[in-house]
């Protein structure tokens, strides 16, 4: 687990509640802004999208790359973060 970032650990460690989309691992200010513009203003909305894509990491990363212009690493990190969150709390 040493490869996960602090952000990841923070997000995955507790229910996301009302956290902003920028609390997601891999999503910074710029990407977060872009997502918010598209209507994904909260982390749980992105979670919704993740769930809509049947928790498929590949699909989600594709979508995230398209929607926010994230690169593979960022999208992968976000997907992993969400996946683990789901494992822990869903």
């Amino acid at each position: 687990m040493s490869t996960t970032s602090q952000k990841h650990r923070d997000f995955v460690g507790e229910p996301m509640g009302d956290k902003s989309v920028m609390a997601l691992s891999g999503i910074g200010e710029i990407l977060g802004k872009k997502l918010e513009q598209q209507g994904f203003d909260k982390a749980f909305v992105v979670l919704g999208q993740f769930l809509l894509l049947k928790k498929d990491s590949d699909m989600f990363t594709e979508w995230l790359k398209d929607a926010s212009g994230a690169n593979s690493r960022q999208a992968g990190s976000c997907a992993q973060c969400l996946r683990e969150w789901c494992d822990a709390f869903l």
Partner: protein, 856 residues
């Protein structure tokens, strides 16, 4: 495929068709799913087009063919449709051609092959220039053209090319181009044969086409093992035949391609059954074809240049997997060798090695044949005959060849060895003979004598001869006598002859000797050289001056019969050798003995040290237990120690070691004292352990935190803190704890550890719990979570602390006083409050430690 026209449901179903279950298609997920669909379609097309592309170098026709045949079909089904569409056409053509095949192979195989080939070839046909238009091929082509692209003007070569391309050149477009140029040299027969085969194979394995195409693709990319099981092993094998044939035609050797092809096909078949990997067989076939071609290239020199290039084109693609054979093929020609090496870049290692070895065998048989291809085909026929035998037999043959080679080498070495032995034997014999017989000296003696020129002046020739002959006779006789004497022949009692005996003998030889005896003897005396006759006087070792003093004559060159000589020499040699051997043996045995002794010594020393250590351990533990238990005597009788350490059956063996250990302890161990004590009325020599126990350090490491055992992560800790109450385990051992306020120390320690977390409101140490439990209540779950992180997995006082959450109500049940606690506890305050206590603590601990030192 216009993606915008797809509705959500259509997109959904399309994705489903690819075997991918999508989630709901919403406005957000739609673009993603469209991309996915596109990717899936591309993949399918790629799979289909890969076959097509490799099929034809230009890949134009493949796509067009694909487009023609599968215009409205989804790309994924292109290939299958293509193949299926081709299948029926093939079948008929195959049947039509079966009669043309002079090959003994079953039409079924060809059918399968043709079918597989078909899909590959048909697109390729139009592209290739016609080399030899033949009517049957044209007819065939037209058939195919109907199903495929219609530009099949060059059936034969085109097909060949298609075959070639389809088969091996899938991955390579450049070789194909070259090969295409080369097509002109193709054979008609081969074309036909190929055609038939192609059609048949295509007919036969429509399903396998995909596989084969895939395989072809894989073939270029990966090893032979990639050939998965399309389930049409036969068909794949049959595929070999057209490949082989094709290769043959490519090489355009004039030899009987069909026959050869059949042979190779047969070979392939033979070879394949064991493995079922047609790829492998194909490769071998290719190699075989290459081999054959190469051989044939020897004959038609003019063709060689032609063959090289097409071969190269063909085999570069095909021989990706023939790498293993490079070395083997090198022997053929420099050119060919190079070509071969390029050809067999990758290879079926095991199979091909077999094959190539076999072919090498044959090659070696026919390497010098400049006979026409006919003879080569004969060889191939012969090969075919052998091929039907098991692969093992092929291997066996190869081994035979190898063994014959080694056999001759073996013979050679034996021969050399024998020659050397004989030489030395002869040398020895000659030496013996020389030594034994002075016959060679005979003439010399007559001609040259050691008497000097005076001799010559004094006497005339006859006298000289007489004297010399006399001397010679005497010499011989004496030699004989001496020899016989030396050999153990008891005929003569003495090695030497007395004067009278000598004189008698000489007179007996020749009457004329009589007068010259003394003169000759005089001359012998006069000359100082050794003429082989030794004259001794009455008194031994006196130099003689006069003939009258001579009493005995002895030969200094005894002549012994050859066997006697040999025997003596032999005995001498043997004795000397045995002497040396004995000496060497003695030295070696001495060395061995020394080594053995040295090892024994080491072993014993090691055992002694081991024993000493055990004794020390026993004594130390005994003294420790004595400290705990004051009833025990602090010393142990030596015999008791020995008997407790050494098993009864070993006592005799270990006696020596034990004694050594005892001595060692007495001399080198200061912590053990030997004394005499009276135990139970009897005097015993005892050992007493006199080292005070090292118990001081125990106080040092009590009640401190010693680091974390593992990092806390999601795996070993709950992701979020559940309750504000914690139960901490394994912080102490109630039995071991001594002192009044060790629980306060525990409090202190916990607070100290969580000093950043000012949310701990209550701590309770369960003094009676065996597990060393401590209960902690925090202000909130968040605080407890922090405390959890800080405490869980840490080392405290040498124990691993674990934490878990407790339900709040239970906690309150247990510790009702905690319900009211809401002020965070501080370590410093505790510390301040208990400074007095703390000061006494170390002492208490020390005392306790001193007490507990025995517990260790």
């Amino acid at each position: 495929m216009a993606s915008t026209q797809l509705t959500d449901e259509e997109l959904f179903s399309e994705l489903k068709r690819f075997g991918f279950t999508p989630g709901p298609v919403t406005e957000n997920t739609r673009p993603v799913y469209l991309k996915k669909l596109k990717k899936l379609r591309e993949e399918q097309q790629q799979r289909g087009s890969r076959a097509g592309k490799t099929r034809n170098s230009g890949a134009i026709h493949s796509s067009s063919g694909g487009g023609n045949t599968a215009g409205s079909r989804p790309a994924s089904h292109d290939v299958t449709h293509l193949s299926s569409s081709r299948r029926p056409g093939r079948k008929s053509s195959v049947l039509g051609f079966s009669s043309d095949e002079s090959d003994a192979e079953t039409p079924l195989k060809r059918k399968g092959l043709n079918q597989s080939r078909r899909a590959d070839r048909s697109p390729g046909f139009p592209q290739h220039p016609m080399i030899r238009p033949t009517t049957p091929s044209v007819a065939t082509k037209s058939q195919y053209g109907a199903t495929l692209n219609s530009n099949n003007s060059s059936p034969g070569p085109g097909r060949q090319r298609g075959v070639l391309l389809g088969w091996g050149v899938r991955a390579r477009s450049s070789p194909e181009a070259e090969g295409r140029d080369y097509d002109e040299s193709g054979d008609d027969d081969d074309n036909e044969g190929e055609k038939e085969k192609n059609s048949r194979s295509l007919n036969g394995c429509g399903a396998s086409h995909l596989n084969t195409s895939k395989l072809a693709g894989d073939y270029s990319d990966s090893d032979e093992e990639e050939v998965g099981g399309p389930g049409v092993g036969d068909q794949q094998r049959e595929r070999l035949e057209p490949n082989v044939r094709r290769s043959h035609t490519k090489a355009e050797f004039a030899y009987h391609v069909v026959g050869r092809g059949s042979q190779t096909g047969g070979a392939a078949r033979q070879v394949n059954p064991p493995e079922g990997l047609n790829m492998v067989g194909n490769r071998r076939e290719e190699g075989e074809g290459g081999e054959g071609k190469r051989r044939d290239s020897d004959t038609p020199g003019g063709l060689r240049s032609h063959t090289v290039s097409p071969r190269k084109t063909i085999y570069v693609s095909l021989a990706e997997n023939h790498g293993g054979e490079t070395g083997k093929n090198n022997h053929v020609d420099g050119e060919d060798g190079a070509y071969r090496s390029s050809r067999f870049a990758i290879g079926l290692r095991p199979r091909f090695s077999n094959y190539s070895s076999l072919s090498q065998t044959y090659r070696s048989n026919h390497s010098n044949h400049t006979a026409p291809n006919h003879s080569y085909s004969q060889a191939m026929l012969k090969q075919k005959l052998s091929v039907p035998e098991d692969e093992l037999l092929q291997q066996f043959k190869r081994e035979e060849v190898a063994s014959s080679g080694s056999f001759s080498a073996h013979y050679l070495s034996m021969f050399l060895l024998t020659a050397a032995c004989l030489f030395f034997l002869l040398l020895g014999l000659m030496y013996l003979r020389m030594r034994g017989s002075g016959s060679s000296e005979v003439d010399e003696v007559i001609k040259s004598h050691p008497f000097g020129s005076q001799f010559d002046e004094l006497y005339n020739k006859t006298e000289k001869d007489l004297i010399l002959k006399l001397l010679l006779n005497l010499h011989d006789h004496l030699a004989q006598v001496a020899g016989q004497y030396d050999c153990g022949d008891q005929q003569h009692l003495n090695r030497s002859l007395s004067m009278a005996e000598a004189a008698t003998y000489l007179r007996a030889q020749n009457q004329e000797f009589d007068g010259f005896i003394e003169t000759s003897l005089e001359w012998i005396i006069r000359t100082g050289q050794d003429v082989g006759i030794r004259l001794t006087g009455q008194v031994a070792d006196d130099p003689l001056t006069d003939v009258s003093e001579i009493s005995r004559l002895e030969s200094s060159h005894p002549k012994m019969p050859f066997t006697c000589r040999f025997r003596r020499a032999f005995l001498t040699v043997i004795s000397r050798v045995s002497l040396i051997a004995v000496v060497v043996g003695c030295v070696w045995s001495v060395v061995c003995y020394m080594r053995y002794r040295w090892r024994r010594e080491e072993e014993e020393t090691r055992q002694m040290y081991d024993m000493v250590e055990r004794i020390i351990d026993v004594l130390r533990s005994h003294s420790d237990s004595c400290q705990e238990n004051q009833d025990l005597q602090p010393y142990l009788p030596i015999p008791h120690v020995r008997d407790s350490l050494v098993q009864p059956q070993d006592r005799k063996k270990m006696k020596k070691i034990w004694e050594r250990a005892e001595k060692f302890l007495a001399a080198n161990e200061s912590r053990i004292r030997k004394e005499t004590q009276r135990i139970g009325g009897a005097d015993f020599l005892v050992w007493r352990w006199i080292q005070p126990s090292l118990s001081c350090d125990k106080t040092m490491n009590s009640k401190v935190w010693q680091g974390k055992a593992f990092p806390l992560d999601r795996r070993n800790s709950p992701p979020n803190s559940l309750t504000p109450c914690l139960k901490i385990r394994n912080m102490f051992d109630p039995i071991m704890e001594v002192g009044e306020n060790w629980d306060l120390a525990i409090h202190e320690a916990i607070l100290e550890k969580c000093n950043d977390n000012d949310g701990i409101v209550h701590i309770a140490v369960d003094k009676n719990s065996r597990e060393g439990c401590v209960y902690v209540k925090c202000l909130s779950a968040e605080h407890s979570g922090r405390a959890f992180k800080a405490l869980h997995g840490s080392w405290f006082d040498g124990k691993l602390v674990t934490v878990k959450y407790l339900r709040l109500d239970r906690y309150h049940q247990r510790f009702p006083q905690a319900q009211g606690c809401s002020t965070p506890l501080k370590a410093s305050s505790l510390h301040l409050n208990t400074t007095g206590t703390m000061n006494t603590m170390p002492r208490l601990h020390h005392r306790g430690a001193a007490n507990s030192s025995g517990f260790s």
